[in-house]
Symmetry: C2
C-alpha cells in the first residue's frame, strides 16, 4: 500500500522482505529477501538507499543506530521507534511528558503483579510483555495471581496496567515531517474483536470537538516530544468518565488509518512517504461525511474469488483492498472501505462485504 | 498507473516493456524488456498470462490474433483494437453503424486531397495517416494541394477529413466488460494545445443533459458494436451547430480519463482491469462537483524537484502524478489533478501547478 501511494509521487522503492510471498514483495519491483534482524543483511540492503522506512516496528534498534552511523537516514529514527518497540520505554516516556496513560508499572513476578492489582483496586489487570506483541498477542487479561504466571515465561520484562473502564477505543493518526510540519487526521473510533481491529469509523461518531481536539493535540505532542517522523497512530481509550488515555503507539501507516486511502484527500501512506522524504504534507481532511473500514479476515474457505465477485457486483462503490495473502482462518487478508453521507448505510455496506468475504454470511 | 490500480485488487502484472526505463517498468515487479512488434517475443511473454491488455495500441493486430489462436485472452481483442489502430477502418465502421463523423474519405494523392477539399467546401482540410499517429503526430492541417504532399511520404494510406467548426472538444469515457456490463463516466471537456491534451475538465462545463447523454450513449454503442472490452475513450467535437462528431477512439485508459484517479469513485485504470478480468465494474460517478486534470510537460530545466516541493507546499490538496520520465521539453512527464466546489479555483490550481512544474511561471 505504501508502494501504491509512492507511484504517483514518482518514487522507487527497494524492499527488504522476509519471504518472496510477503504482500509488498508481490508488487514492488526491487525486492531483497532477507532477515531484518541481521545487521549484515540490513547494511547490504541499505547501500544506495536515500532513506529507510518501515511497514513494521521489529528491526532491532541497535541495528538502526548502526545504519544511522553508516550515514543512512532512518525515518522514524531509532530514538523514536524504540517507544513503539518497547512498551516499558513508551510508558516511562509518556509519563515524563505528562501524557495520560492507564496506571501501570513493570512487575517482577506473579506476586508483584498481584501487588500491582492491589494498588489499582484489585484484579483484573492487564499484563503485557514489553516487546514482541501485536494484535492481542503478548497481552493477558489476568483475574488472579495464578493467571499471572504465563506472561513471565517469555523471559521479557512484563508491564502491568490497570483495566480501564472505557466506552470505546479511539485512534488519533498524525503525520510529522523532519522539519516539523504535521497534519492530524480526524480522530476515529476503532472496534476490536478478540483483540484484533475489526471496524474503524471516521470520524468517531458523536465525539465532541473538545475530546477530539485533545486527542489530536496529544498525538501531535507525542510525535514532537519523541521525535517521530512519518505516521504515528496513537491508540486511545475513551473512559467512562470522559477522559482519553494512551493505549498503544504505532510509528508507521496503521490499520486505524486504512480508511484514509479512500476517505481522505491524502492517504496515510502518501503522507508517510511525503514525511519520510521531507516533502510538504498533503491535506488530511476527509472527502466524505463518513468513511468506514472493516478488516477482511480469512475464513474456512480458502478461495475468496466468488465472494469477491459478489461484493463488487452488490456494491459498485465498495473499495476492496486485498493483500495477496493465502487465506487462513482469522488472518487479516485485506480490508474494505466504504464512504457516504449516511453512517448506518456506510457501516452496513462495509460490514456486509467483510462478513461475506470471510464466509460468515451468505445471501 | 494500471499497476497502481491493480494493487488493491490483489492483481499481479507482468509487463512487456520497450526499455527498462519505461514508466511502468520502474514500478512493476515482473518486467520483460522486449519488442512488442516481434511475435516470438510476444509468445514467450504471453505464456502463463491469464489475460493480456495494453497501455498503448501499437501491437500488430496479426500478432494479437496469433496469441488468441494460442489460447491467450487478449482484451480488448484484435477485432476491436484494429479500429483504434487504423483510422481508415475506424471511419468505415463508424459510418456503417451510423456514428456521426466529420465528412471523410481515403485520398490517393495530393490531387485527390484537393478534390476532397472541393467536395467539403474547400481548403483547409485535415489529412491523417491511417496508422501510427498520436498526440498530433501523423496529422496535417492542410491549406492547399501543395501542402498536401507531406502526408503521403510515409507510404501509409491517407485519410482526409473536413475541418469541423467546433466550439470545443469533448471526450466520452466508458468501460465495458466481456459479459456486456458497461459504465459511463461524465463527459469531459478536453482542451488541446499544439495538438496535445493540455487540460481536462470533468464534467464538461455547461454541457446540457441531452448532448451529454447523446455522447455517453454513442460511446456505449460504439463499444458494443465494435466489441470493445476495457476502457474506451471517444474523443468528440462539439460543433458550432450543436452536434457531436467522433474525432478519435482510444481503447485503453486515456489521458482524458486521468481525472478519474482522484475525481471518480472508481478510476478508469481500476475499471479497465476489472473489465479485462470480467469482474463487476465500479461506480464511475464523480466524487466532487469539479475535477480538473492538467498535463505536466517538460520544460527547459531538467530538475523538477524544487517545483515539486513548491507545488505540494502551495496546495496541500493537489494530487501530483509523476511518470518517472526524464524531463525533455514538451514531453508529458506527469499530470496533476485538483477537485472542489468552485470551478475557477479548481482550474486555477491545476493550471498553476502544471505551469510551475514546467517552469513557465515562477512566484
Amino acid at each position: 500500500m505504501t508502494h501504491e501511494a509512492g507511484i504517483p509521487l514518482g518514487l522507487k522503492f527497494k524492499l527488504l522482505s522476509d519471504t518472496p510471498q510477503d504482500s509488498a514483495a508481490q508488487v514492488v519491483g526491487d525486492v531483497v529477501v532477507g532477515d531484518h534482524r541481521d545487521l549484515d543483511t540490513l547494511r547490504a540492503f541499505a547501500r544506495g538507499c536515500d532513506v529507510i522506512t518501515f511497514d513494521h516496528e521489529h528491526v532491532p534498534i541497535e541495528h538502526l543506530r548502526a545504519l544511522e552511523a553508516d550515514g543512512i537516514p532512518v525515518r522514524p529514527g531509532p530514538d523514536a521507534l524504540v517507544h513503539a518497540q518497547d512498551k516499558g520505554v513508551m510508558r516511562e516516556r509518556l509519563d515524563a511528558i505528562g501524557a495520560p496513560c492507564p496506571r501501570h508499572r513493570i512487575v517482577a513476578d506473579p506476586a508483584d503483579a498481584a501487588a500491582f492489582a492491589e494498588e489499582v483496586g484489585g484484579f483484573p489487570v492487564i499484563l503485557k510483555t514489553v516487546r514482541g506483541g501485536y494484535d492481542g498477542k503478548g497481552v493477558w487479561f489476568v483475574r488472579s495471581q495464578a493467571e499471572a504466571e504465563a506472561p513471565f515465561k517469555a523471559g521479557v520484562p512484563v508491564l502491568a496496567e490497570e483495566k480501564v473502564d472505557f466506552v470505546r477505543e479511539l485512534a488519533a493518526n498524525i503525520v510529522r515531517s523532519p522539519h516539523g510540519q504535521a497534519v492530524a487526521y480526524p480522530v476515529v473510533e476503532s472496534r476490536q474483536v478478540d483483540g484484533v481491529c475489526d471496524t474503524v469509523i471516521a470520524p468517531a461518531p458523536g465525539l465532541g470537538a473538545e475530546l477530539s481536539g485533545q486527542a489530536q493535540e496529544l498525538a501531535l505532542r507525542i510525535a514532537r516530544e519523541l521525535g517521530v517522523v512519518g505516521h504515528l497512530a496513537v491508540e486511545l481509550f475513551e473512559t467512562t468518565d470522559g477522559r482519553i488515555l494512551v493505549n498503544e503507539l504505532a510509528m508507521r501507516p496503521h490499520n486505524s488509518g486504512h480508511w484514509t486511502q479512500d476517505g481522505a484527500v491524502t492517504s496515510q501512506f502518501a503522507n508517510h512517504v511525503r514525511a519520510v522524504l521531507d516533502l510538504p504534507l498533503g491535506d488530511p481532511r476527509p472527502r466524505a461525511p463518513w468513511t468506514v473500514m472493516c478488516n477482511v479476515l480469512g475464513g474456512d474457505y480458502p478461495d475468496m474469488y466468488q465472494g469477491y465477485l459478489h461484493c463488487m457486483a452488490r456494491d459498485p462503490q465498495l473499495k476492496i483492498h486485498m493483500y495477496g495473502k493465502d487465506v487462513k482462518p482469522g488472518r487479516k487478508v485485506g480490508h474494505v472501505n466504504t464512504f457516504g453521507d449516511d453512517l448506518d448505510d456506510v457501516l452496513e455496506r462495509a460490514r456486509h462485504a467483510a462478513d461475506y468475504l470471510r464466509g460468515t454470511i451468505t445471501e
